[in-house]
Symmetry: D2
Subunit: 242 residues, 4 copies
């Protein structure tokens, strides 16, 4: 497994493993405070310790289902904007993973609480949700494939990081182990590794070997940072229901 | 002037004047509570009485400039989606009015406060602002010309209604007369009358004489209602700076 | 299997089976001459009898690969424009079928002729190809989900009809049996049946039970007819290389 | 006038004037054969000498009206994709110039031949027309502002070059002086100079001072070259009616 290899090389004292690629690492390093606020939010800590109120979790889960509907639309826009076979196939596979698999956690958990999928699909969107997803689709309408990827990256890789960290540190009795295992699991992680590689390739073939010195890099960083701040807003929204 | 004619016929006891057309009237009547919350918001009352803090007004004005940048993008998407000469010309004229004229109020007022246009253009967007504008552009990406018009309508016609009402009732010494006169003025009002007619025509040529009985009407109403709720959020955002 | 059921009911003297749904049947009946020119083109007859020159077939196959790249982009735009779970899932599944399966015929046949996939992906597009695919993606940009579906329908269902007809009537020794079996086969046919049902549902939920009496139907018919004419151009283009 | 200044400096033996900017000059130099085939097409020679059959001219003019409808849609997409005030204002002004002014030549000439504007707007599009315009709008959907500009450039600047050359060399009795003067005239030329400057600025702020060494330049060149080839196809289509 790719992640295992990456962590081995890490133990050997080489540079910090970047399981999701260099592009993501550069973007994350470009906004350390928002990134920390997002990945160490009190909502996340509540998942880890188990102290998160069930009402907050359910409110979040319903909104996250609606989020995934529009996030799938955004990844589909990736196919529309792709310029290589690799980009096209990776985006198409991601849409399939989102529409036919990731949503299963939401559907299953909500079904156990008596909420069916049609209710989820038609749930009223909170403004924080709407702001985030429409910002991402508009990034695709306004910019090119890289603009869209920069706006999609924080959700994908942030959940990957959170999942990995929580799997290693969560309270054994947290009721949120299903959530943690979904994002820490090999299925999710291996898709993220693939997406990270594809983004590295997409950046290199458009901006070359030193993309951070091409002026438009700052615009991409701005998109990544904005989407990260919108993730913070999304957790805040989840907490409101607690 | 069209509006004058409309208000005369009103005095003669005929049905209530619909200066901006039947489509808008139907949509507004479809969400009376959000519409009232928007058009009679405490921010609006503050403009009317003059009690609105200057800091709130300036915060709003800067955000509204950024709003107009993206609102112009959305009206331009109207040209992309237009199917008739009338639709194309009305949208093109509206983009020109927004980019080259309406923004002048913002630029002038802000310049007097020492804020230049480049600062306005690059101002950091509040989430409520981002939510609203990107919802509108995404409506154009997801739907057709009518979906986009339903999302554009609340801002256009709501400001028209507010301007007209405040021009007739504002405190004589409110410092916000320039704002009121911009939207109550014949320039703005006559553009709104044109847009209203174009929307009526656009609905009729797609959905026929009884559009409210075509199933997709509910979707258009939902878009109008959502954009109206996002207007309420925009005023709330303005008040935060007070 | 759905198609079997449909043809049984047909033998019992009931109305002609519409395996791909009522919407498609109405559109096809709305342009009988272009539809016949497309589905009975001399290129198609050449596939059936085996008289089609190999050079024409290969030229077509390379162009059709490039066509499928952009056709996949258009179906992905369907996910972007979808408004129901069914629409979203059907479009996502179709993208997956196109990107990961239908293209396999092209890749395999071309590989046997010494043409690799990267060559296919980057082949120079003929104007007829470019005209067709970009017309379809622009239909999605300009209109709504139905506009896009009307532009996508002729290729999907036309190949289904051609495949079924040729499977029943082709010369036993035609070298084009792989092509015929791809489109006559249950895999392709069952996807078409699903797409046809989804389109019927999409029309009903937007335009009601009598969609042909809603004014915008004429626009949808125009899109279907235009795409059908562009299919004729595509076969013509294939013949040029013979 | 800018163009005059440019040609004076040219006479003084300095580098060839680039009235429409360095970006356009680089793109044009990147496809000399297609560019010559386009700007010295037999249709153009027919305008210059006056030998072009009237039927070919009228056929072209009707198709060119429909072309301008979709070209205006594409320039409007430029406003949607703009990232600076300059880009937004230049695109908005260009849409206005196209919709409210350039089309006037077509409307006036066609009216004199008994063809009204509604007929023009709804004229059936030739495939070459459809291929060209939809390629341009799709460039905007797939890529970013630069992708769209590269696809828009050949028409804008090519007509500018042709107009200037023909104004200096046309037969005094060619019946096509109105056409020539429209594109050679100061109105058209000064808009082109502005657009050329804006494109130079747009490239510099995204790709820096040496844009041709950024990998994505080759994609932009490919878009410019493709649109130039589609211009050749458009003249061919005009000649078909002769």
């Amino acid at each position: 497994m790719t992640l295992l290899t990456a962590s081995v090389s890490n133990r050997q004292g080489q540079r910090q493993a970047q399981p999701y690629g260099h592009t993501f690492a550069a973007w994350r390093n470009g906004c350390p405070d928002p990134w920390h606020a997002y990945t160490h939010h009190s909502f996340v800590e509540g998942l880890r310790t188990g102290a998160l109120p069930r009402s907050a979790y359910l409110h979040y889960l319903i909104q996250d289902y609606v989020f995934l509907v529009h996030f799938s639309r955004a990844w589909s826009l990736g196919v529309v904007k792709a310029e290589t076979q690799l980009e096209m196939k990776t985006c198409a596979r991601t849409v399939d993973a989102l529409v036919n698999h990731e949503m299963a956690l939401h559907i299953g958990t909500c079904a156990a609480e008596g909420i069916d999928e049609a209710t989820l699909f038609n749930a009223s969107e909170e403004f924080e949700n709407l702001a985030y997803t429409r910002y991402v689709t508009d990034a695709g309408l306004q910019g090119d494939f890289l603009d869209l990827m920069a706006a999609l990256a924080p959700c994908c890789f942030g959940y990957g990081e959170i999942g990995t960290r929580l799997a290693a540190s969560a309270a054994s009795d947290t009721p949120y182990n299903d959530w943690i295992n979904t994002y820490a699991g090999e299925d999710y992680q291996s898709v993220m590794v693939e997406i990270g590689r594809m983004m590295d390739d997409a950046v290199a073939r458009r901006l070359g070997d030193d993309p951070q010195n091409v002026p438009r890099w700052s615009r991409l960083q701005h998109r990544f940072t904005t989407a990260t701040r919108l993730e913070v807003g999304f957790w805040d929204m989840g907490m409101r229901a607690s």
